[in-house]
């Protein structure tokens, strides 16, 4: 089974980093992919990621 990927989408870098650290501490594989956007994430950017 393909491993799930975690995307963290937030407009605040500090919040994204905190959630990423928590997921690592809680041992959720694989390494979460951290994404921060200050403006709304364009759908084409999201499509490239999922």
């Amino acid at each position: 089974m393909k491993k799930p990927t975690v995307l963290i989408i937030d407009n605040n870098t500090a919040h994204t980093s905190t959630i990423k650290s928590l997921l690592i501490e809680l041992n959720y594989p694989p390494q979460p992919l951290s994404i921060t956007h200050l403006t709304p994430l364009p759908l084409y950017s999201l499509n490239a990621l999922i």
């Binding site: 989408i9 937030d10 605040n12 928590l22 809680l26 759908l43 999201l46 999922i50």
Partner: protein
């Protein structure tokens, strides 16, 4: 995912997009606005709604829910790219037979046919053991198999060729599957 961006609930649009793609989402937000909560949690894709600040175990319990849903989906579902580059969810029980055609595979359901760029070998690795190869160019969902003839099989009213080298393997595997049920 945060739902409030630049003081606006712009994440709701993104949420509806993720819903179309069947991607599970945990909302982690600063907003305790009941209207935002209601709109976000009525989508099928939102598994949980956490208001910041939160304890790490709140996040952990939500992650368990998401992973449980993911495992359920991943064990019975194949995601393929549609003709408009959209992700389509195809349940294993909808998939009746597969035809290999060069670098492509044609996936046949009772009503539609989808083509994906993938070899038969790679595709069968992703699927479970109900899918059995019956010919160099054909594999079938054995749950829908109706009869095995000397050089063909009948599946959902369709007659497909049965390769000589695959015949004994098909009979053996279908017996194992029958005994398991």
């Amino acid at each position: 995912m945060e739902i409030i961006w630049n003081n606006h609930p712009l994440g709701l649009d993104l949420l509806s997009h993720l819903e179309k793609e069947s991607i599970p989402v945990i909302i982690i937000t600063n907003s305790s606005d009941p209207d935002i909560y209601r709109k976000a949690t009525t989508t099928k894709t939102a598994i949980g709604y956490i208001v910041k600040p939160f304890h790490k175990y709140t996040l952990a319990s939500m992650m368990e829910k998401v992973l449980a849903q993911y495992r359920q989906l991943a064990t019975n579902t194949l995601f393929i790219k549609g003709s408009k580059n959209e992700r389509l969810k195809l349940r294993y029980n909808e998939l009746i037979w597969i035809e290999a055609d060069g670098d492509y595979c044609h996936l046949n359901t009772p009503t539609k046919r989808y083509s994906i760029k993938q070899s038969m070998v790679k595709l069968l690795e992703q699927l479970d053991d109900r899918f059995i190869r019956i010919h160099n160019s054909f594999s079938i969902n054995s749950y829908h198999l109706e009869s095995i003839l000397p050089s063909s099989v009948e599946i959902k009213g369709q007659v497909l060729p049965l390769g000589r080298t695959y015949r004994s393997g098909l009979i053996e595997k279908t017996n194992i599957l029958k005994n398991r049920h």
